[in-house]
């Protein structure tokens, strides 16, 4: 059984799809990218890549997805790669799990924001399966993972009829919507080396401590050069159809010293950029106000961390 609904824009309650298809899909495991793409091309839209399955497997149970075949891509070697090269940056294969990501020494050392966000995603059992690429393809409007990636200027590496490199900000085009064609595969994410020693903070607001749904999230990252903070990055989640960077606030922080007044102005810019809607999880005005609180706390946390305090 499934529930067709878009957050806050619900027309009618459905227990299940009208058509109610039977479970007739096939399962194929592949070892090679081209093999996977050939399968996707054979029946675009009806063949689905399967990564960690944390979203796809329950969806398949409903019998609602018009799927004829799922292609298990976890066994494709290049998609499993997790490598850091100082000159190039971090390559995250699409099927790297959050658990593996969190165990990687370079990631822990150089990408503190990624780590802080990933730690707050789901629970150990889910992080053992859920993949960094799957979370990008799911493209949830309240994702905790996308804002952290956006702050790294991550680029999606896509293969299909041709190879494409799509900046993450373009890759995701709305809640649950990506620029990936039905016969394309996200093979990995490329994250340029940080422009200095990255300091980050992910501020997440939810109903209860263990709640899966983020009501508002703010990712902040800056880069330290000789004790000076430069190259501020800021991304918000759950306050618009997709997570996004707040360039107006970043520009301000890059120009001026982050005094209380400057932070206050950055907060205003973040709030102006937010486009929250009312839904049953939270009201738009609350979300907008919380953008202010979380952004300010995120900036203050980054500043405090750079000073060596660890709030």
């Amino acid at each position: 059984m499934c529930i067709l609904k878009e957050d806050g824009r619900l027309l009618e309650f459905h227990f299940s799809d009208e058509a109610g298809c039977l479970h007739t899909f096939d399962y194929v495991r592949v070892r090679d990218v081209n093999e996977a793409i050939a399968l996707l091309q054979a029946a675009p839209g009806e063949v689905r890549p399967l990564a960690g399955g944390t979203e796809l497997v329950p969806a398949l149970q409903t019998g609602r997805l018009p799927v004829r075949c799922v292609v298990d891509i976890k066994g494709i070697a290049p998609l499993q790669e997790l490598a850091y090269r100082p000159d190039e940056g971090l390559y995250l294969g699409a099927v790297v799990t959050f658990d593996r990501l969190l165990a990687q020494p370079e990631v822990r050392r150089l990408y503190p924001l990624l780590v802080e966000a990933a730690r707050q995603i789901a629970s150990p059992a889910v992080r053992n399966r859920a993949t960094v690429g799957g979370a990008v393809c799911v493209a949830a409007a309240y994702s905790d993972w996308l804002p952290a990636l956006l702050c790294q200027d991550a680029v999606g590496l896509v293969m299909g009829a041709a190879e494409r490199r799509i900046p993450l900000a373009e890759f995701v085009c709305g809640d649950g919507c990506t620029r990936l064609a039905a016969d394309e595969l996200l093979v990995g994410l490329w994250l340029p080396s940080p422009s200095g020693a990255a300091v980050g903070s992910y501020q997440k607001l939810r109903l209860g401590h263990g709640s899966r749904i983020t009501l508002v999230g703010a990712a902040i990252q800056a880069h330290a050069h000789d004790g000076q903070l430069q190259d501020w990055r800021m991304a918000l989640t759950a306050v618009g159809p997709k997570p996004f960077r707040v360039s107006a606030a970043e520009a301000l922080l890059n120009q001026e010293n982050p005094t209380a007044a400057v932070i206050a102005e950055a907060v205003l810019r973040a709030q102006a950029a937010a486009a929250p809607t009312d839904d049953f999880r939270a009201g738009a005005d609350y979300r907008r106000a919380m953008v202010g609180v979380l952004v300010r706390r995120g900036i203050e946390t980054v500043l405090a961390r750079v000073r060596g305090a660890k709030p």
């Binding site: 329950p58 149970q61 889910v126």
Partner: protein, 155 residues
């Protein structure tokens, strides 16, 4: 569609015919009769179906049986039979880490996975490790104390 798979469950090898849409949870419960692993929500939100797959804690409702071909699976029945976590089971009894018991297998598998990696976890680490498992009866206090006690008992 049908697949023939091999599963090593609790140390026993099984050759099984499964359908593409069957989850590992379906197969454990329906085909192998291993009903200790519970079905509480079917979408990863309750933790009652927690098992170990190739020595990693996973939610068996989120894994297709076909994906697990060739894998090693440990369920609560296997955990109990091995005796390796008897001290954890005893601590659950002593501290009333269960009432109705429906969530218990999931908590045991998650707690055992934690203790295997970290013999002396602090309270915050225990909480984080068990955050994906819901219990409607105990209020978690007995569960927390049980895991703390077990970590002290472990040699």
């Amino acid at each position: 569609m049908r697949h023939e798979i091999t599963l090593h469950v609790n140390g026993h090898e099984h050759r099984l015919q499964v359908e593409s849409h069957h989850t590992l949870l379906d197969v454990l419960r329906r085909q192998l009769g291993l009903t200790g692993t519970k079905h509480g929500c079917d979408c990863g939100e309750c933790g009652a179906c927690s098992i170990w797959l190739n020595d990693r804690l996973v939610l068996s409702c989120l894994v297709l049986a076909a994906e697990a071909d060739g894998a090693h699976v440990l369920t609560v029945e296997g955990l109990a039979a091995s005796g390796e976590f008897a001290h954890l089971q005893e601590a659950f009894i002593e501290h009333h880490g269960m009432q109705c018991g429906f969530c218990t297998a999931g908590f045991l598998m998650a707690a055992a996975a934690l203790l295997r990696e970290n013999a002396r976890p602090d309270a915050a680490t225990i909480r984080a490790a068990l955050a994906g498992n819901l219990c409607r009866c105990t209020g978690y206090h007995g569960i927390l104390r049980a895991v703390q006690t077990a970590s002290r008992m472990r040699r």
